[in-house]
Amino acid sequence: MPQYSTFQPKPYRPRMSPYWYFERWPYLKFMVRELSCVFVAYFAVVMLFQIHAISAGPGAYARFAACMRCPLILDLNAIALVFIVFHAVTWFALVPRVFVRDVMGPGIPDVVTMLPNFGAWLVASAIVAAFILRFI
């Protein structure tokens, strides 16, 4: 039995393109935000190697530092840093969209929920930078 008849026209069912995330900037931003977590994982692994090298002694840390000075690794780290900053900024920008309103009640301006996160991020980064520059 045919599914289509003159009196019940079949609607057109659109299909999303496999490249839908290129169609609008917010979608591309979403995909880059999600994929940039790979670079977060990469930096976490690098940090684990760094901690291991520190605990293994000055010789091991010198070898690790020499490896990290390799131009290829420097380029990779620069790219990873850009993506990690993008990841952090886009996630903090989402805070008003996911904020638990039980904490402060409804009607809180977006900026009030976003700014403390950016502030805490800057302070934490400054502390880590100061520690690294002072002791390592």
Binding site: T6, P9, K10, P11, Y12, R13, P14, M16, W20, Y21, E23, R24, P26, Y27, F30, E34, L94, P96, R97, V98, F99, V100, R101, G105, P106, G107
Partner: protein, 246 residues
């Protein structure tokens, strides 16, 4: 500046076409015209066969939602002058079956709305003899989510719904949360059983575009994330205190 503008309007005739195509119309570019006025000009003066929905012309009924230059918009609130010099591309809302031209089928959406039980559910048969008193704080908890006009722009903006039409979607989930937060309602456990599932709140990946395109600032994304948190708290409660109620 030219005193006309080109509108590229999606055309689809279900008995002749296999997919939509775009037809260009030249319409007057008037300072006080919305895109909807231009569409009505086409319908009245140029081609009476053009099909599209509209009603109130003031952003209340939610009927005239369409894709305007690829962005889900209420055409009655989209100033034509903002798109000058054009052309302006107008299509049916993304992700919905197209009946004809710019008119989409809403059956799936209506089914999803019904599924979330968007009414006050009471466990008891208590019928109050007078109005149910709510404090301003209790009202403020859900008032934002009552402003939804079911225009479906959020569905057209949601890639999750586009990829998986079984996803309950932003407006229906926001409405469910609206009733969950209502102090008169006792149906949140029933709704959570239905919606804390693969097709419900956990399908949302926080793209956030539903909230960006919402013409009433309902913020469905916020409602869904709140719902995720309350569903998680409920799950922990049932796990830690299996003897207690959800």
């Amino acid at each position: 500046m030219s005193d006309t503008i080109i509108l590229e309007v999606a055309r689809f005739h279900p008995e002749r076409d296999t997919e939509p195509s775009y037809q260009s119309f030249e319409v007057p570019l008037r300072a006080d015209w919305m895109v909807l006025d231009a569409l009505n000009h086409i319908k009245d003066q140029l081609d009476g066969s053009l099909a599209f929905r509209w009603s109130c012309r003031m952003g209340i009924c939610g009927s005239c939602g369409m894709m305007v230059n690829g962005v889900p918009s209420l055409t009655c609130e989209s100033l034509l002058m903002n798109f000058a010099p054009g052309p302006v591309r107008i299509g049916p809302l993304d992700h919905f079956p197209v009946i004809k031209d710019l008119a989409i089928e809403m059956d799936e959406f209506m089914g999803k709305l019904q599924k979330v039980r968007p009414w006050i559910v009471r466990k008891d048969d208590y019928v109050p003899k007078r109005e149910f008193i709510q404090t301003p704080k209790q009202l403020a908890a859900f008032q934002q989510f009552t402003l939804c006009i079911n225009c479906m722009l959020c569905y057209a903006a949601c890639p999750v719904y586009g990829l998986d039409p079984s996803f309950t979607g932003p407006a229906a989930l926001a409405l469910a949360e609206r009733y969950n937060l209502d102090s008169r309602d006792q149906g949140s456990a029933e709704r959570t059983d239905l919606l804390a599932q693969h097709d419900g709140i956990w399908d949302c990946t926080v793209v956030g575009e539903c909230s960006e395109v919402c013409p009433k600032n309902v913020d469905p994304s916020l409602a869904i994330q709140q719902y995720k948190i309350s569903a998680t708290k409920d799950w922990f409660k049932t796990w830690l205190m299996p003897w207690g109620n959800k």
